[in-house]
Amino acid sequence: MGWFSCGSAAGKRYQRTVAVEMGAYLAIIEGVTQYVRHDHPAGWVLYAVAAAPSVPILGVLIAMGRYLRDETDEYQRDVMVRCLLIGTAVVLAVTAFFGFLRSFDWKGELPPFTEFVLFWLVMAGAKAYYRFADRVKDDA
């Protein structure tokens, strides 16, 4: 998710933190998946195991908040906020759509983590759009 960085100190710090958190996320996912498959935990242990991958995700969201607080380039901050809003709007629209389908007795089901994946993909797309729209010639 380094596409948020604009090369500022805050952007670089954000990129580093996200890289660490995503590495931790992948390691935790692998660890808990193996653990659940082999040991079949139940009760509070299962809750704890399910909560573990959420910790680095929370870390990414905190890093995003820190970036917004520390970024001194107000335009880059504005772009980040716009991307967050676009990601949130699309996820809310899609979940509302499927919510209505379910309320009309639709029996289908979205795969787990659809909202989270969709949120990041839309944010990445929005950021890519702004990068493209804001490109400048070398001699400008």
């Binding site: 604009c6 090369g7 500022s8 001194t72 380039d73 107000e74 335009y75 880059q76 504005d78 772009v79 729209a133 804001d134 400048v136 001699d139 400008a140």
Partner: protein, 64 residues
Amino acid sequence: MHNRLRVLRAERSWSQADLAAKLEVSRQSVNAIETGKYDPSLPLAFRIARLFETRIEEIFQDDA
């Protein structure tokens, strides 16, 4: 709101990168302001005005 940033910059033969470095913002920010995609905050507008040694209203004009 429109502005004379590009003209003022050209008068000094500064590139967008030069101006961005002087203002301590990204080149994308300078480009977005020049093209009218983004209106700077009052503190940044003051910084721009100080850099060009002029008044804010000499750089930024309200369309109203």
